[in-house]
Amino acid sequence: MEAVLRLFRKELIQVFRDRKLLFSTLVLPVLLMPVFMFGPSLFLSRLLQGAAERVQEVAVAGLPEEALKALEAARLKPVPVPDPEEAVREGRFPAGVVFREGAYRVFGRLASGLGESQVVVEKVKGALQALKEAQVAEALVRAGLPKEILSPFAVEVVDASPPKEKAGGLLGFLLPFFLVVFVLSGGQVVAVDATAGEKEKGTLEALLAAPVPLVQVALGKTLATVAMALLSGVAGLLGLALGGAWSARFGGGVLTERGETLALGGQVSLDGGSFLALFLTAFLLALFMGAVMVALGLYARSFKEAQSYMAPLQLLFLLPLSKCALTVASSCW
Protein backbone atom coordinates (compact mmCIF):
# COMPACT_ATOMS: atom_id res chain seq x y z
CA MET A 1 0.00 0.00 0.00
CA GLU A 2 2.92 2.31 0.72
CA ALA A 3 4.12 1.99 -2.86
CA VAL A 4 0.63 2.89 -4.10
CA LEU A 5 0.55 6.05 -1.97
CA ARG A 6 4.09 6.93 -3.06
CA LEU A 7 3.02 6.72 -6.70
CA PHE A 8 -0.21 8.58 -6.03
CA ARG A 9 1.70 11.42 -4.36
CA LYS A 10 4.28 11.59 -7.15
CA GLU A 11 1.60 11.79 -9.85
CA LEU A 12 -0.22 14.61 -8.06
CA ILE A 13 3.00 16.56 -7.44
CA GLN A 14 3.69 16.37 -11.17
CA VAL A 15 0.20 17.61 -12.00
CA PHE A 16 0.26 20.43 -9.46
CA ARG A 17 3.62 21.65 -10.75
CA ASP A 18 2.25 22.04 -14.25
CA ARG A 19 0.62 25.46 -14.02
CA LYS A 20 -0.90 25.40 -17.49
CA LEU A 21 -2.49 22.03 -16.89
CA LEU A 22 -3.74 23.13 -13.47
CA PHE A 23 -5.24 26.30 -14.89
CA SER A 24 -7.03 24.52 -17.74
CA THR A 25 -8.29 21.69 -15.52
CA LEU A 26 -9.25 23.41 -12.28
CA VAL A 27 -9.40 27.19 -12.72
CA LEU A 28 -10.84 27.59 -16.20
CA PRO A 29 -14.05 25.61 -15.49
CA VAL A 30 -14.79 27.83 -12.49
CA LEU A 31 -14.33 30.96 -14.61
CA LEU A 32 -15.98 29.80 -17.81
CA MET A 33 -18.95 27.84 -16.50
CA PRO A 34 -20.95 30.91 -15.39
CA VAL A 35 -20.26 32.65 -18.68
CA PHE A 36 -21.14 29.68 -20.90
CA MET A 37 -24.07 28.43 -18.86
CA PHE A 38 -25.88 31.56 -17.85
CA GLY A 39 -24.41 34.33 -19.95
CA PRO A 40 -26.51 33.64 -23.07
CA SER A 41 -29.79 33.21 -21.17
CA LEU A 42 -29.11 36.32 -19.10
CA PHE A 43 -28.31 38.30 -22.23
CA LEU A 44 -31.40 36.99 -23.98
CA SER A 45 -33.79 37.65 -21.12
CA ARG A 46 -32.44 41.21 -20.80
CA LEU A 47 -32.89 41.73 -24.54
CA LEU A 48 -36.46 40.43 -24.51
CA GLN A 49 -37.39 42.36 -21.40
CA GLY A 50 -36.01 45.57 -22.88
CA ALA A 51 -37.78 45.00 -26.17
CA ALA A 52 -41.10 44.43 -24.43
CA GLU A 53 -40.81 47.62 -22.37
CA ARG A 54 -39.66 49.99 -25.15
CA VAL A 55 -41.95 51.71 -27.70
CA GLN A 56 -41.00 50.50 -31.19
CA GLU A 57 -41.89 51.95 -34.55
CA VAL A 58 -43.97 49.70 -36.82
CA ALA A 59 -44.32 50.25 -40.57
CA VAL A 60 -48.02 50.28 -41.49
CA ALA A 61 -50.11 50.60 -44.65
CA GLY A 62 -53.91 50.67 -45.04
CA LEU A 63 -54.66 50.14 -41.34
CA PRO A 64 -58.07 51.33 -40.05
CA GLU A 65 -58.16 53.83 -37.19
CA GLU A 66 -59.11 51.27 -34.52
CA ALA A 67 -56.09 49.09 -35.47
CA LEU A 68 -53.73 52.06 -35.19
CA LYS A 69 -55.13 52.80 -31.73
CA ALA A 70 -54.74 49.15 -30.71
CA LEU A 71 -51.06 49.23 -31.75
CA GLU A 72 -50.46 52.44 -29.79
CA ALA A 73 -52.12 50.85 -26.75
CA ALA A 74 -49.59 48.00 -27.05
CA ARG A 75 -46.61 50.42 -26.82
CA LEU A 76 -46.03 50.51 -30.57
CA LYS A 77 -45.73 53.58 -32.81
CA PRO A 78 -47.34 53.07 -36.26
CA VAL A 79 -45.50 54.85 -39.07
CA PRO A 80 -47.26 54.90 -42.46
CA VAL A 81 -45.00 53.75 -45.33
CA PRO A 82 -45.85 52.76 -48.92
CA ASP A 83 -44.45 49.21 -48.65
CA PRO A 84 -44.06 47.83 -45.05
CA GLU A 85 -42.66 44.48 -46.25
CA GLU A 86 -39.79 46.18 -48.06
CA ALA A 87 -39.20 48.53 -45.13
CA VAL A 88 -38.80 45.54 -42.79
CA ARG A 89 -36.60 43.67 -45.27
CA GLU A 90 -34.28 46.67 -45.49
CA GLY A 91 -34.08 46.80 -41.70
CA ARG A 92 -35.67 50.21 -41.32
CA PHE A 93 -38.41 48.79 -39.04
CA PRO A 94 -38.45 45.67 -36.84
CA ALA A 95 -42.00 44.82 -37.98
CA GLY A 96 -44.68 45.96 -40.40
CA VAL A 97 -48.44 45.48 -40.91
CA VAL A 98 -50.60 45.74 -44.01
CA PHE A 99 -54.42 45.59 -44.03
CA ARG A 100 -55.78 44.47 -47.35
CA GLU A 101 -59.03 42.73 -48.38
CA GLY A 102 -60.12 42.10 -44.80
CA ALA A 103 -56.82 40.53 -43.68
CA TYR A 104 -53.92 41.83 -41.59
CA ARG A 105 -50.51 40.70 -42.82
CA VAL A 106 -47.67 41.09 -40.30
CA PHE A 107 -44.02 41.22 -41.47
CA GLY A 108 -40.92 40.54 -39.42
CA ARG A 109 -37.35 39.32 -39.90
CA LEU A 110 -37.82 35.96 -38.25
CA ALA A 111 -35.15 33.83 -39.90
CA SER A 112 -32.41 35.01 -37.51
CA GLY A 113 -34.18 33.49 -34.48
CA LEU A 114 -35.27 35.16 -31.30
CA GLY A 115 -34.53 38.88 -31.48
CA GLU A 116 -36.18 42.26 -31.34
CA SER A 117 -38.09 41.74 -34.60
CA GLN A 118 -39.78 38.63 -33.24
CA VAL A 119 -40.68 40.41 -30.01
CA VAL A 120 -42.27 43.30 -31.93
CA VAL A 121 -44.14 40.87 -34.21
CA GLU A 122 -45.53 39.18 -31.08
CA LYS A 123 -46.57 42.58 -29.72
CA VAL A 124 -48.35 43.39 -33.01
CA LYS A 125 -50.08 40.00 -33.03
CA GLY A 126 -51.17 40.48 -29.42
CA ALA A 127 -52.57 43.94 -30.16
CA LEU A 128 -54.51 42.72 -33.22
CA GLN A 129 -55.81 39.65 -31.32
CA ALA A 130 -57.07 41.92 -28.54
CA LEU A 131 -58.74 44.15 -31.15
CA LYS A 132 -60.38 41.12 -32.79
CA GLU A 133 -61.76 39.86 -29.50
CA ALA A 134 -63.06 43.32 -28.58
CA GLN A 135 -64.85 43.64 -31.94
CA VAL A 136 -66.40 40.14 -31.66
CA ALA A 137 -67.56 40.88 -28.11
CA GLU A 138 -69.11 44.14 -29.28
CA ALA A 139 -70.97 42.35 -32.11
CA LEU A 140 -72.26 39.73 -29.71
CA VAL A 141 -73.57 42.40 -27.37
CA ARG A 142 -75.24 44.17 -30.32
CA ALA A 143 -76.91 40.86 -31.28
CA GLY A 144 -78.20 40.46 -27.74
CA LEU A 145 -75.85 37.57 -26.88
CA PRO A 146 -73.62 37.43 -23.78
CA LYS A 147 -69.93 37.94 -24.63
CA GLU A 148 -69.06 35.00 -22.31
CA ILE A 149 -70.13 32.80 -25.25
CA LEU A 150 -66.62 33.45 -26.60
CA SER A 151 -65.14 31.41 -23.71
CA PRO A 152 -67.48 28.51 -22.96
CA PHE A 153 -64.79 26.88 -20.81
CA ALA A 154 -61.28 27.59 -19.54
CA VAL A 155 -58.13 25.60 -20.21
CA GLU A 156 -55.51 25.66 -17.51
CA VAL A 157 -52.15 23.87 -17.69
CA VAL A 158 -50.71 22.96 -14.31
CA ASP A 159 -47.10 21.84 -13.78
CA ALA A 160 -47.40 18.55 -11.90
CA SER A 161 -43.65 18.03 -11.53
CA PRO A 162 -42.50 17.08 -8.02
CA PRO A 163 -41.20 20.05 -6.02
CA LYS A 164 -37.56 18.89 -6.31
CA GLU A 165 -37.86 18.62 -10.09
CA LYS A 166 -39.45 22.06 -10.30
CA ALA A 167 -36.66 23.51 -8.20
CA GLY A 168 -34.08 21.73 -10.27
CA GLY A 169 -35.32 22.92 -13.62
CA LEU A 170 -32.69 22.48 -16.31
CA LEU A 171 -30.11 21.78 -13.64
CA GLY A 172 -31.51 18.26 -13.37
CA PHE A 173 -29.95 17.63 -16.77
CA LEU A 174 -27.03 20.02 -16.64
CA LEU A 175 -25.65 18.75 -13.34
CA PRO A 176 -24.99 15.14 -14.43
CA PHE A 177 -23.94 16.28 -17.89
CA PHE A 178 -21.25 18.63 -16.70
CA LEU A 179 -20.23 16.33 -13.88
CA VAL A 180 -19.49 13.61 -16.45
CA VAL A 181 -17.72 16.07 -18.76
CA PHE A 182 -15.47 17.46 -16.04
CA VAL A 183 -14.78 14.13 -14.37
CA LEU A 184 -13.76 12.66 -17.72
CA SER A 185 -11.64 15.58 -18.88
CA GLY A 186 -9.91 16.05 -15.51
CA GLY A 187 -9.15 12.35 -15.15
CA GLN A 188 -8.02 11.96 -18.72
CA VAL A 189 -5.20 14.46 -18.30
CA VAL A 190 -3.60 12.42 -15.51
CA ALA A 191 -4.44 9.01 -16.93
CA VAL A 192 -2.81 9.71 -20.28
CA ASP A 193 0.19 11.52 -18.83
CA ALA A 194 0.84 8.85 -16.20
CA THR A 195 0.70 5.93 -18.61
CA ALA A 196 1.23 6.49 -22.34
CA GLY A 197 2.87 9.82 -21.54
CA GLU A 198 5.42 8.08 -19.30
CA LYS A 199 6.07 5.49 -21.99
CA GLU A 200 6.69 8.19 -24.56
CA LYS A 201 8.93 10.22 -22.27
CA GLY A 202 10.95 7.15 -21.29
CA THR A 203 10.19 7.33 -17.57
CA LEU A 204 8.01 4.23 -17.28
CA GLU A 205 10.83 1.72 -17.73
CA ALA A 206 12.67 3.05 -14.69
CA LEU A 207 9.51 2.58 -12.65
CA LEU A 208 8.86 -0.92 -13.97
CA ALA A 209 12.42 -1.92 -13.14
CA ALA A 210 11.79 -1.04 -9.48
CA PRO A 211 10.54 -3.75 -7.11
CA VAL A 212 6.87 -2.76 -7.28
CA PRO A 213 4.17 -5.15 -8.51
CA LEU A 214 2.50 -3.91 -11.68
CA VAL A 215 -0.90 -3.96 -10.02
CA GLN A 216 0.33 -1.45 -7.43
CA VAL A 217 1.72 0.79 -10.17
CA ALA A 218 -1.67 0.72 -11.92
CA LEU A 219 -3.49 1.33 -8.62
CA GLY A 220 -1.35 4.35 -7.70
CA LYS A 221 -1.91 5.89 -11.11
CA THR A 222 -5.64 5.13 -10.99
CA LEU A 223 -5.99 6.79 -7.58
CA ALA A 224 -4.23 9.91 -8.87
CA THR A 225 -6.55 9.90 -11.89
CA VAL A 226 -9.60 9.58 -9.63
CA ALA A 227 -8.42 12.41 -7.37
CA MET A 228 -7.87 14.74 -10.31
CA ALA A 229 -11.17 13.72 -11.91
CA LEU A 230 -13.01 14.55 -8.68
CA LEU A 231 -11.20 17.86 -8.29
CA SER A 232 -12.09 18.75 -11.85
CA GLY A 233 -15.72 17.73 -11.24
CA VAL A 234 -15.83 19.88 -8.10
CA ALA A 235 -14.34 22.81 -10.03
CA GLY A 236 -16.99 22.43 -12.72
CA LEU A 237 -19.81 22.23 -10.18
CA LEU A 238 -18.40 25.23 -8.34
CA GLY A 239 -18.51 27.13 -11.62
CA LEU A 240 -22.09 25.97 -12.14
CA ALA A 241 -23.09 27.08 -8.64
CA LEU A 242 -21.39 30.45 -9.15
CA GLY A 243 -23.22 30.83 -12.44
CA GLY A 244 -26.49 29.93 -10.72
CA ALA A 245 -25.91 32.51 -7.99
CA TRP A 246 -24.97 35.09 -10.60
CA SER A 247 -28.06 34.21 -12.62
CA ALA A 248 -30.32 34.51 -9.57
CA ARG A 249 -28.72 37.83 -8.62
CA PHE A 250 -29.02 39.41 -12.05
CA GLY A 251 -32.23 37.76 -13.21
CA GLY A 252 -31.00 35.25 -15.75
CA GLY A 253 -32.77 32.04 -16.67
CA VAL A 254 -34.09 30.25 -19.70
CA LEU A 255 -37.48 31.17 -21.10
CA THR A 256 -39.86 28.38 -21.99
CA GLU A 257 -42.31 28.48 -24.88
CA ARG A 258 -45.02 29.59 -22.46
CA GLY A 259 -42.93 32.53 -21.37
CA GLU A 260 -42.02 31.06 -17.97
CA THR A 261 -38.51 31.15 -16.69
CA LEU A 262 -36.93 27.83 -15.86
CA ALA A 263 -35.14 27.64 -12.57
CA LEU A 264 -31.41 27.20 -12.83
CA GLY A 265 -28.66 26.87 -10.25
CA GLY A 266 -29.75 29.81 -8.14
CA GLN A 267 -32.88 28.08 -6.89
CA VAL A 268 -31.35 24.73 -6.15
CA SER A 269 -30.18 23.72 -2.74
CA LEU A 270 -28.75 20.29 -1.93
CA ASP A 271 -29.50 18.74 1.43
CA GLY A 272 -26.95 16.49 3.13
CA GLY A 273 -28.35 13.29 1.64
CA SER A 274 -28.45 14.68 -1.90
CA PHE A 275 -24.94 16.03 -1.59
CA LEU A 276 -23.68 12.69 -0.34
CA ALA A 277 -25.44 10.88 -3.19
CA LEU A 278 -23.97 13.34 -5.68
CA PHE A 279 -20.47 12.90 -4.30
CA LEU A 280 -20.77 9.12 -4.13
CA THR A 281 -21.99 8.97 -7.71
CA ALA A 282 -19.16 11.24 -8.86
CA PHE A 283 -16.65 9.13 -6.91
CA LEU A 284 -17.88 5.84 -8.39
CA LEU A 285 -17.90 7.34 -11.87
CA ALA A 286 -14.37 8.69 -11.38
CA LEU A 287 -13.18 5.35 -9.99
CA PHE A 288 -14.61 3.38 -12.89
CA MET A 289 -13.48 5.86 -15.51
CA GLY A 290 -10.06 6.18 -13.90
CA ALA A 291 -9.54 2.42 -14.05
CA VAL A 292 -10.69 2.26 -17.69
CA MET A 293 -8.56 5.23 -18.75
CA VAL A 294 -5.42 3.97 -16.99
CA ALA A 295 -5.92 0.54 -18.58
CA LEU A 296 -6.29 2.13 -22.02
CA GLY A 297 -3.31 4.39 -21.37
CA LEU A 298 -1.12 1.44 -20.42
CA TYR A 299 -2.23 -0.41 -23.52
CA ALA A 300 -1.53 2.55 -25.84
CA ARG A 301 1.96 2.93 -27.25
CA SER A 302 1.96 6.71 -27.42
CA PHE A 303 0.31 9.82 -26.05
CA LYS A 304 -1.62 10.35 -29.28
CA GLU A 305 -2.82 6.77 -29.40
CA ALA A 306 -4.09 7.03 -25.81
CA GLN A 307 -5.94 10.24 -26.61
CA SER A 308 -7.54 8.63 -29.63
CA TYR A 309 -8.94 5.92 -27.31
CA MET A 310 -10.28 8.48 -24.83
CA ALA A 311 -12.40 10.48 -27.30
CA PRO A 312 -14.87 7.65 -28.11
CA LEU A 313 -14.92 6.78 -24.43
CA GLN A 314 -16.25 10.27 -23.65
CA LEU A 315 -18.96 9.89 -26.28
CA LEU A 316 -19.89 6.51 -24.85
CA PHE A 317 -20.55 8.04 -21.47
CA LEU A 318 -22.27 11.14 -22.78
CA LEU A 319 -24.67 9.13 -24.94
CA PRO A 320 -27.00 8.06 -22.07
CA LEU A 321 -27.06 11.66 -20.91
CA SER A 322 -28.33 12.85 -24.27
CA LYS A 323 -31.37 10.64 -23.59
CA CYS A 324 -31.91 12.57 -20.37
CA ALA A 325 -32.12 15.79 -22.35
CA LEU A 326 -35.07 14.34 -24.29
CA THR A 327 -36.88 12.76 -21.34
CA VAL A 328 -37.56 13.75 -17.78
CA ALA A 329 -34.27 14.85 -16.31
CA SER A 330 -35.03 13.52 -12.87
CA SER A 331 -35.45 9.99 -14.17
CA CYS A 332 -31.78 10.01 -15.12
CA TRP A 333 -30.48 11.39 -11.85
Binding site: R6, I13, G202, E205, A206
Partner: protein
Amino acid sequence: MVQAEGLTKRYRKAVAVEGLTFGVGPGEVYALLGPNGAGKTTTLRLLSTLVRPSAGRALVAGFDVVREPLEVRRNLGLVNGGMRVYERLTGREVLEFFAGFYGLKGRAFLGALDWVVDLLEMEETLDKKVGEMSTGMRQKVVIARAILHRPKVLLLDEATAGLDIFARRALLDFVKAYRDLGHAVIYSTHVMGEAEEVADRVGFLHRGRLVYEGSKEEALALGEGSLERAFVRQVRGA
Protein backbone atom coordinates in the same frame (compact mmCIF):
# COMPACT_ATOMS: atom_id res chain seq x y z
CA MET B 1 25.88 -12.90 -9.80
CA VAL B 2 24.23 -13.36 -13.22
CA GLN B 3 23.72 -16.74 -14.83
CA ALA B 4 21.84 -17.22 -18.09
CA GLU B 5 21.18 -20.65 -19.56
CA GLY B 6 19.60 -21.08 -22.97
CA LEU B 7 17.84 -17.75 -22.60
CA THR B 8 15.47 -17.22 -25.52
CA LYS B 9 12.91 -14.59 -26.47
CA ARG B 10 10.66 -15.12 -29.45
CA TYR B 11 8.02 -12.74 -30.72
CA ARG B 12 5.27 -13.72 -33.16
CA LYS B 13 7.31 -13.21 -36.29
CA ALA B 14 10.86 -12.94 -35.02
CA VAL B 15 13.38 -14.39 -32.63
CA ALA B 16 15.02 -11.62 -30.62
CA VAL B 17 17.56 -13.76 -28.75
CA GLU B 18 18.13 -17.49 -28.79
CA GLY B 19 19.94 -19.88 -26.49
CA LEU B 20 22.06 -17.34 -24.64
CA THR B 21 24.29 -18.91 -22.04
CA PHE B 22 26.74 -16.76 -20.13
CA GLY B 23 27.68 -15.76 -16.61
CA VAL B 24 28.98 -12.67 -14.85
CA GLY B 25 30.71 -12.81 -11.48
CA PRO B 26 31.12 -10.22 -8.71
CA GLY B 27 33.68 -7.47 -9.38
CA GLU B 28 33.44 -8.07 -13.12
CA VAL B 29 32.39 -5.93 -16.07
CA TYR B 30 30.90 -8.03 -18.85
CA ALA B 31 30.63 -6.16 -22.15
CA LEU B 32 27.78 -7.35 -24.34
CA LEU B 33 28.78 -6.19 -27.80
CA GLY B 34 26.93 -6.12 -31.06
CA PRO B 35 25.40 -3.85 -33.69
CA ASN B 36 21.93 -2.35 -33.39
CA GLY B 37 19.29 -5.08 -33.52
CA ALA B 38 21.67 -7.81 -32.30
CA GLY B 39 19.51 -8.49 -29.22
CA LYS B 40 21.46 -6.61 -26.53
CA THR B 41 18.50 -4.62 -25.25
CA THR B 42 16.23 -7.68 -25.23
CA THR B 43 18.85 -9.57 -23.21
CA LEU B 44 18.98 -6.84 -20.58
CA ARG B 45 15.18 -6.52 -20.53
CA LEU B 46 14.98 -10.27 -19.89
CA LEU B 47 17.47 -10.03 -17.04
CA SER B 48 15.65 -7.05 -15.52
CA THR B 49 12.27 -8.89 -15.68
CA LEU B 50 10.71 -6.34 -18.05
CA VAL B 51 9.94 -9.17 -20.50
CA ARG B 52 9.46 -12.88 -19.87
CA PRO B 53 11.71 -15.37 -21.59
CA SER B 54 10.14 -17.79 -24.08
CA ALA B 55 12.62 -20.47 -23.06
CA GLY B 56 15.68 -20.96 -20.89
CA ARG B 57 16.29 -19.44 -17.49
CA ALA B 58 18.28 -16.72 -15.83
CA LEU B 59 19.33 -16.06 -12.26
CA VAL B 60 20.23 -12.59 -10.99
CA ALA B 61 21.85 -12.49 -7.56
CA GLY B 62 20.57 -16.03 -7.11
CA PHE B 63 16.93 -15.20 -7.92
CA ASP B 64 14.99 -16.54 -10.89
CA VAL B 65 13.80 -13.80 -13.28
CA VAL B 66 10.46 -15.53 -13.88
CA ARG B 67 9.59 -16.87 -10.45
CA GLU B 68 11.09 -14.13 -8.26
CA PRO B 69 10.89 -10.91 -10.29
CA LEU B 70 10.58 -8.58 -7.30
CA GLU B 71 13.68 -10.08 -5.63
CA VAL B 72 15.56 -9.77 -8.90
CA ARG B 73 14.59 -6.10 -9.19
CA ARG B 74 15.64 -5.44 -5.60
CA ASN B 75 19.12 -6.64 -6.48
CA LEU B 76 19.70 -4.93 -9.79
CA GLY B 77 19.91 -1.49 -11.28
CA LEU B 78 19.01 -0.78 -14.90
CA VAL B 79 20.15 2.17 -17.00
CA ASN B 80 19.52 2.56 -20.69
CA GLY B 81 20.20 5.37 -23.10
CA GLY B 82 16.56 6.21 -23.61
CA MET B 83 15.66 6.16 -19.94
CA ARG B 84 14.41 9.42 -18.40
CA VAL B 85 13.19 10.57 -15.02
CA TYR B 86 10.38 12.92 -14.04
CA GLU B 87 11.04 16.42 -15.34
CA ARG B 88 8.85 18.25 -12.84
CA LEU B 89 10.60 16.73 -9.81
CA THR B 90 13.97 17.78 -8.44
CA GLY B 91 16.89 15.37 -8.48
CA ARG B 92 16.47 14.81 -4.73
CA GLU B 93 12.72 14.10 -5.10
CA VAL B 94 13.35 11.60 -7.89
CA LEU B 95 15.90 9.75 -5.78
CA GLU B 96 13.68 9.82 -2.68
CA PHE B 97 10.75 8.51 -4.74
CA PHE B 98 12.69 5.50 -6.03
CA ALA B 99 14.60 4.92 -2.76
CA GLY B 100 11.28 4.28 -1.01
CA PHE B 101 10.67 1.21 -3.17
CA TYR B 102 13.90 -0.29 -1.81
CA GLY B 103 13.03 0.52 1.79
CA LEU B 104 15.50 3.39 1.97
CA LYS B 105 13.89 6.02 4.19
CA GLY B 106 15.03 8.62 6.70
CA ARG B 107 18.67 8.18 7.66
CA ALA B 108 19.13 5.22 5.36
CA PHE B 109 18.07 7.37 2.44
CA LEU B 110 20.29 10.26 3.47
CA GLY B 111 23.27 7.90 3.79
CA ALA B 112 22.61 6.44 0.35
CA LEU B 113 22.18 9.93 -1.04
CA ASP B 114 25.54 11.10 0.35
CA TRP B 115 27.24 8.05 -1.13
CA VAL B 116 25.76 8.45 -4.60
CA VAL B 117 26.31 12.22 -4.66
CA ASP B 118 30.01 11.69 -3.86
CA LEU B 119 30.39 8.86 -6.35
CA LEU B 120 28.77 10.71 -9.27
CA GLU B 121 29.78 14.25 -8.26
CA MET B 122 26.24 15.50 -8.54
CA GLU B 123 25.97 17.90 -5.61
CA GLU B 124 24.77 20.78 -7.78
CA THR B 125 22.03 18.76 -9.48
CA LEU B 126 20.13 17.67 -6.39
CA ASP B 127 17.78 20.59 -5.91
CA LYS B 128 17.26 21.46 -9.55
CA LYS B 129 14.19 20.25 -11.39
CA VAL B 130 15.17 17.52 -13.86
CA GLY B 131 13.57 19.50 -16.70
CA GLU B 132 16.04 22.31 -16.06
CA MET B 133 19.15 20.07 -16.10
CA SER B 134 21.65 19.46 -18.90
CA THR B 135 21.69 16.03 -20.60
CA GLY B 136 24.72 14.94 -18.60
CA MET B 137 23.18 16.00 -15.31
CA ARG B 138 19.97 14.17 -16.14
CA GLN B 139 21.90 11.02 -16.97
CA LYS B 140 23.59 11.24 -13.59
CA VAL B 141 20.18 11.30 -11.92
CA VAL B 142 19.14 8.26 -14.00
CA ILE B 143 22.27 6.41 -12.90
CA ALA B 144 21.94 7.54 -9.29
CA ARG B 145 18.38 6.21 -9.27
CA ALA B 146 19.64 2.84 -10.50
CA ILE B 147 22.44 2.44 -7.96
CA LEU B 148 21.04 4.21 -4.88
CA HIS B 149 20.23 0.85 -3.28
CA ARG B 150 23.72 -0.46 -4.19
CA PRO B 151 22.47 -3.29 -6.41
CA LYS B 152 24.63 -6.37 -6.71
CA VAL B 153 24.09 -6.29 -10.46
CA LEU B 154 24.13 -3.20 -12.66
CA LEU B 155 22.84 -3.36 -16.23
CA LEU B 156 23.89 -0.54 -18.57
CA ASP B 157 22.39 -0.46 -22.05
CA GLU B 158 23.90 2.09 -24.45
CA ALA B 159 24.16 4.30 -21.40
CA THR B 160 26.49 6.84 -23.02
CA ALA B 161 24.08 7.60 -25.88
CA GLY B 162 23.63 11.35 -26.21
CA LEU B 163 26.17 12.21 -23.52
CA ASP B 164 28.82 14.88 -24.03
CA ILE B 165 32.49 14.06 -23.63
CA PHE B 166 32.63 14.99 -19.93
CA ALA B 167 29.51 13.06 -18.96
CA ARG B 168 30.73 10.06 -20.98
CA ARG B 169 34.10 10.11 -19.26
CA ALA B 170 32.40 10.35 -15.86
CA LEU B 171 30.20 7.36 -16.69
CA LEU B 172 33.11 5.15 -17.80
CA ASP B 173 35.04 6.05 -14.64
CA PHE B 174 31.97 5.28 -12.58
CA VAL B 175 31.58 1.82 -14.17
CA LYS B 176 35.14 0.91 -13.19
CA ALA B 177 34.64 2.32 -9.69
CA TYR B 178 31.42 0.38 -9.24
CA ARG B 179 33.10 -2.81 -10.43
CA ASP B 180 35.89 -2.19 -7.91
CA LEU B 181 33.30 -2.15 -5.14
CA GLY B 182 32.68 -5.82 -5.90
CA HIS B 183 29.52 -5.47 -8.01
CA ALA B 184 28.73 -7.18 -11.31
CA VAL B 185 28.19 -4.95 -14.31
CA ILE B 186 26.81 -5.86 -17.71
CA TYR B 187 27.80 -3.14 -20.14
CA SER B 188 25.89 -3.33 -23.40
CA THR B 189 27.11 -1.18 -26.28
CA HIS B 190 27.89 -1.06 -29.96
CA VAL B 191 30.84 1.29 -29.29
CA MET B 192 33.77 -1.13 -29.09
CA GLY B 193 36.17 1.52 -27.77
CA GLU B 194 34.15 1.88 -24.59
CA ALA B 195 34.23 -1.85 -24.03
CA GLU B 196 37.99 -1.92 -24.54
CA GLU B 197 38.28 0.55 -21.67
CA VAL B 198 35.91 -0.93 -19.07
CA ALA B 199 35.38 -4.62 -19.84
CA ASP B 200 36.91 -7.62 -18.09
CA ARG B 201 35.12 -10.10 -20.30
CA VAL B 202 33.24 -9.68 -23.58
CA GLY B 203 30.41 -11.44 -25.38
CA PHE B 204 29.72 -10.84 -29.09
CA LEU B 205 26.02 -10.89 -29.91
CA HIS B 206 24.92 -11.24 -33.53
CA ARG B 207 21.36 -11.78 -34.76
CA GLY B 208 20.23 -12.89 -31.31
CA ARG B 209 23.00 -15.43 -30.78
CA LEU B 210 26.15 -15.25 -28.67
CA VAL B 211 28.85 -15.95 -31.22
CA TYR B 212 31.87 -15.44 -28.97
CA GLU B 213 32.65 -15.16 -25.28
CA GLY B 214 36.01 -14.68 -23.60
CA SER B 215 38.25 -12.35 -21.65
CA LYS B 216 38.93 -8.93 -23.06
CA GLU B 217 42.58 -9.82 -23.55
CA GLU B 218 41.69 -12.97 -25.53
CA ALA B 219 39.28 -11.00 -27.70
CA LEU B 220 41.86 -8.29 -28.30
CA ALA B 221 44.40 -10.90 -29.30
CA LEU B 222 41.84 -12.35 -31.70
CA GLY B 223 41.42 -8.94 -33.33
CA GLU B 224 45.08 -7.99 -33.23
CA GLY B 225 44.45 -5.30 -30.62
CA SER B 226 40.99 -4.30 -31.80
CA LEU B 227 37.66 -5.57 -30.43
CA GLU B 228 35.95 -4.31 -33.57
CA ARG B 229 38.18 -6.42 -35.78
CA ALA B 230 37.66 -9.39 -33.48
CA PHE B 231 33.90 -8.96 -33.68
CA VAL B 232 33.90 -8.79 -37.49
CA ARG B 233 36.11 -11.88 -37.77
CA GLN B 234 33.91 -13.84 -35.39
CA VAL B 235 30.69 -12.84 -37.12
CA ARG B 236 32.05 -13.68 -40.58
CA GLY B 237 33.34 -16.96 -39.26
CA ALA B 238 30.06 -17.82 -37.53
